[in-house]
Assembly symmetry: C2
Homo-oligomer: 197 residues x 2
């Protein structure tokens, strides 16, 4: 099973992190992002979105880090990481949406500006960060994990760009419950770090 | 089962549309959005995000339209709308992420500016629309439905704000395959419209 990967991408790290925690072997294929290999053949045929990560498992090709987490958990990771019960599954999906939208357009986008020079409205990314991080912090004040009282793919989806927020000049200092959750994540067996985390 | 609802919200419409198609009875509770009822007690306790829709099914409270679709499909809608097979489920989740991020921050946000006077960077919403709509159109050139060759909650999640795009001055005229898909959606048994669709 191949993961087309960029080491510094938080979206790729979501997949590497979950695979490490759930002991799922991945064949990591580094992609020459700076030369735009993800926007050229053969990768653009695998993912017309021109983005990473891409997962290839035999005939299956998946884009979108959240979808890849759902596949890996369902196929290889087991019920602990993505429950089959519809209410519990929906509880996880709430956080996949947060990872896909609020976190991506907040702290992740702020980091794209500062670390990679993307032309994105930085004040907008800070405004969005200033809305979502207090909501996450308040949730974690009474919850050890994002949902179900245990680590799930919800935590793997939200963790990377929250933990990397300081690389976009988004301080986590006000968010003591986020800080404690980051430490709990790092203490999980088989936790895998990335540069900046 | 209660849906706290705003008729003109595409996110609420995702849920009403799917419930109609899958014949799931909902008790629709209109929310006084203009007076900010969704940001005040008792709704803000149900959803600290201060957003609609909110679904309440006995003890279960869910925010986020994508998560609500996953719950309704899993609990009441059946395998046709959200398959249990991990690869097929991930195929659906790819499009839930598109609904949550690219469509929300593209055509949906453009409509918020034009129709409701939101202070959002309109050129940015048009730029994002101009990226995602051609990708969806190209996908629909060779696919009747977004995934699995049949209507699923993926279509219900993406359809509303794509069909409503002209209300944000985002023309669908260039996108013939999107247009044909919209017509296929409208022709589904028990399809429910909303104002502007």
């Amino acid at each position: 099973m191949k993961l087309y990967d960029l080491e510094l991408s938080g979206n790729c790290y979501k997949v590497r992190l979950f695979a490490a925690l759930a002991r799922i072997p991945l064949d990591i294929v580094p992609v020459d992002f700076l030369s735009g290999a993800h926007k050229k053949s053969p990768l653009i045929e695998l993912n017309p979105w021109g983005e990473l990560p891409i997962l290839v498992d035999q005939d299956l090709v998946l884009r979108d880090s959240q979808a890849i987490l759902v596949y890996l958990a369902g196929q290889y990771g087991g019920e602990a990481w993505l429950p089959k019960d519809p209410a519990h599954m929906a509880g996880v999906v709430q956080w996949l949406s947060v990872a896909s939208n609020e976190v991506q357009n907040g702290p992740a986008a702020a980091r794209l500006v500062d670390k990679f020079g993307y032309v994105i409205d930085k004040p907008d990314t800070l405004k969005r960060s200033g809305r979502i991080l207090p909501l996450i912090d308040a949730h974690l004040a009474t919850n050890k994990w994002l949902t179900l009282g245990r680590p799930t793919i919800a935590d793997c989806a939200v963790f990377p760009y929250v933990a990397l927020a300081p690389e976009g000049a988004v301080s986590l200092t006000p968010y003591t419950h986020i800080h404690a959750w980051i430490e709990r994540m790092k203490a999980l067996p088989y936790f895998a770090p990335m540069p900046g985390v």
